[in-house]
């Protein structure tokens, strides 16, 4: 793929957290490409390193406690990994922005939401307070906050959960950045509100041709939005595929398990396929393939050696000794 088509090129990102008991390996060398104007999803259970990845791309991880090592972190062909703090501050909010999970805690409780959005315009577009407020109201209008003008003067606790999340989206889109990272943008919401908020996010992304990195544990959220999906497990990418391929023929048993946990309307006979146990503690990862203790298809080889990430076709990679739905691939 041509590099100029890539909005984000991430190569070999590693993040560790030293602690009193040992070293926590949160992210173990992942690669991530996001094409311009596309939506890429990063999927995995909680505790597998998704959020750490997003913060590492934003370069928001503090050291201490984190130590980050990355070979390439290119945003629109610009290498960010050696940027100074000041330069990163210029970039954040303007060309690179983020939507956080829980809007209740992600918004400052003692500041009106209007003021919190104003700050972005004042900081990056050097507007006066009055001009900034006009922009803020427009931004709130765009994400469908009713009566934006008066709502701008309310405090976060006075808004409903859905509205708060829209405020966060308005914040992220304020300066029409090139890349937006949405970290579980709808997890804290009710299902109906989730759909509304996702629609807003998806509309905004398509309308303004922004690249989006969507981080979630919920494959049903991804189904309507993402173009490419990365599945992450215990700090490593285990599968990368186009959305269609991934949903039709998952190659990694973990992906199969995740898909099995999504309820389907057509399926009235089978029960959910569930993955037993949970993600290993990042300090005590198993030998061999990290997934083998929970895998139905495991063999002796899985217990001994970590499989490499293997390219199956143009847009598809998988990390498994016995991938599913493949000719000669072992288990099926």
């Amino acid at each position: 793929m041509n590099e100029s088509e890539l909005m984000l090129k991430l190569r070999n990102l590693k993040v560790i957290f030293p602690s009193g008991q040992g070293i926590i390996k949160a992210v173990e060398g992942i690669n991530l490409d996001i094409e311009k104007g596309k939506c890429v999803a990063l999927v995995g259970e909680s505790g597998c390193g998704k959020s750490v990845t997003s913060l590492a791309i934003m370069r928001l991880l503090n050291s201490p406690p984190a130590i980050v090592k990355v070979d390439e972190l290119k945003l629109d062909q610009e290498e960010l990994k050696d940027y100074s703090d000041g330069k990163m501050q210029e970039l954040r909010g303007r060309t690179l922005s983020m939507i956080f999970q829980d809007a209740m805690t992600a918004l400052n409780p003692v500041m009106t939401i209007g003021k919190q959005i104003d700050e972005i315009y004042i900081r990056h577009n050097h507007l006066s307070k009055k001009e900034a407020r006009a922009e803020t109201i427009r931004a709130l209008d765009l994400v469908g906050v009713p009566e934006a003008k008066s709502r701008a003067n309310s405090f976060p606790h006075q808004l409903s959960g859905g509205l708060r999340q829209r405020v966060l989206i308005a914040m992220a889109f304020a300066c029409m950045p090139k890349l937006i990272i949405a970290d579980e943008p709808t997890t804290a919401l009710d299902v109906t509100i989730q759909a509304q908020v996702l629609n807003v996010l998806s509309d905004m992304q398509k309308k303004h041709q922004v690249s989006l990195l969507l981080i979630t544990h919920d494959l049903s959220v991804v189904a309507n939005m993402a173009d490419t999906i990365y599945v992450m497990y215990s700090g490593k990418i285990v599968e990368k595929a186009d959305k269609r391929d991934l949903f039709l023929s998952p190659h990694h048993p973990y992906t199969e398990g995740l898909l099995g946990s999504v309820p389907k309307l057509s399926d009235t006979q089978h029960h959910f396929v569930q993955i037993p146990d949970s993600v290993p503690h990042p300090m005590f990862k198993p030998t061999g393939c990290y997934f083998h203790p929970r895998c139905r298809y495991k063999t002796k080889k899985c217990e001994e050696r970590m499989p490499p990430l293997v390219k199956i076709d143009e847009n598809c990679e998988v990390r498994c000794w016995h991938p599913l739905h493949i000719k000669g691939g072992g288990s099926q």
């Binding site: 560790i16 490499p308 990430l309 390219k311």
Partner: protein, 342 residues
């Protein structure tokens, strides 16, 4: 009726068992924590000193007939010298002072824990009128100046440590009740409590069996800190002469030192000795309370420890860790390559 009483007693017994079990494991955790161990050791020594005071003290601290040896400086005969006014042995007084401090501190601390837990749970769990009444009382207690009221009450009912403990308990439960109440409000909505409610468990049953064990950690931690605070307050009241005038306490020793001319004649040991007593007892209880807090909220400790860990990190080791994550991405047809790897 009898059956019901039996049932209630059984619930209480189980609740208490659940309540006291964490205490045992807590002391274990404290002992394993280096700072907590220091606190436990000092408290243990203080308790031993209080119990065996007559064996440890070389002289009778109440003996004011030793007119010949007034105002002696420290020597092997009198480790901390003698008082200027009455010739009492200061070291023996220091040993005996442990008793008042520990008894007042422990009795008050434990009583406050009981009263505060009951009030806090009632206010938080029962809610309604009980809550309103208890919280209004707390608000009123907060604005009444404690020390002046204590002085007035000792004036009314006579000076004794019983009176002091009574007043401390009367005023001390308010803060604890507030803390417990806010925790109970959280616990009340916990799923296991809801489940018990749906299963038809009585209020008493839930309060004793589910809520009380839930607050026990917080309660133990607060009791340790309360004991420390009470010991300081007791020293202050004794210093003002509001304690039992016949008992020997560290606060009263300080008052005697001040009025007896220790400052004037330069007998600094007479002031330092009771000060060290107060410091050690308060410090040890506070240490225990703070270590418990640390055990309860491990995040707070980790965040400040991380800097120490970072200082000791070895760059070569980190490089190794990073390299251990590396791998080569294999391109091409899968089946072919798999054989190659195998």
């Amino acid at each position: 009726m009898k059956k019901k009483l039996y049932h209630l007693l059984k619930i209480c017994g189980e609740g208490l068992k659940r309540f006291f079990r964490p205490i045992g494991s807590f002391i274990g955790k404290l002992w394993r924590h280096p700072k907590g161990r220091i606190g436990l050791i000092i408290v243990g020594l203080l308790i031993l000193t209080a119990i065996f005071a007559p064996l440890i003290a070389p002289y009778d601290p109440y003996d004011v007939t030793e007119r010949a040896s007034k105002g002696l400086s420290p020597s092997w005969n009198h480790l901390l010298g003698t008082t200027i006014t009455t010739g009492q042995d200061i070291f023996s007084m220091l040993i005996y002072g442990t008793r008042v401090s520990l008894i007042v501190g422990l009795v008050t601390g434990i009583s406050i824990a009981f009263l505060g837990a009951i009030m806090g749970i009632l206010a938080g769990y029962v809610g309604g009128l009980a809550d309103t009444f208890i919280m209004r009382t707390v608000d009123i207690m907060l604005v009444i100046p404690t020390l002046p009221l204590t002085i007035v009450l000792t004036n009314l009912f006579g000076k004794s440590y019983f009176m002091i403990i009574f007043i401390f308990v009367l005023f001390g439960w308010t803060g604890l009740a507030r803390v417990i109440r806010s925790l109970v409000l959280v616990l009340k909505n916990a799923n296991y409590v809801k489940a018990a409610e749906l299963a038809g468990a009585s209020r008493w049953h839930i309060m004793i069996k589910h809520i009380l064990p839930g607050v026990s950690h917080l309660l133990i931690m607060n009791t340790a800190l309360t004991c420390a605070g009470i010991m300081i307050a007791e020293a202050g009241l004794s210093f003002l002469g509001l304690g039992d005038p016949t008992a020997i306490s560290w606060g009263k020793m300080l008052a005697d030192a001040q009025s007896g001319g220790a400052l004037l004649f330069g007998h600094w040991w007479w002031i330092i000795a009771p000060g060290i007593g107060i410091f050690l007892s308060v410090f040890s209880f506070m240490r225990i309370g703070l270590v418990m807090e640390e055990i309860l909220n491990p995040r707070m400790k980790q965040s400040s420890n991380i800097y120490k860990i970072f200082k000791t990190l070895n760059n070569n080791y980190l490089e190794e860790v990073f390299e251990s994550m590396d791998e080569s991405v294999i391109l091409g047809d899968f089946a072919e390559k798999e054989e190659e790897i195998a």
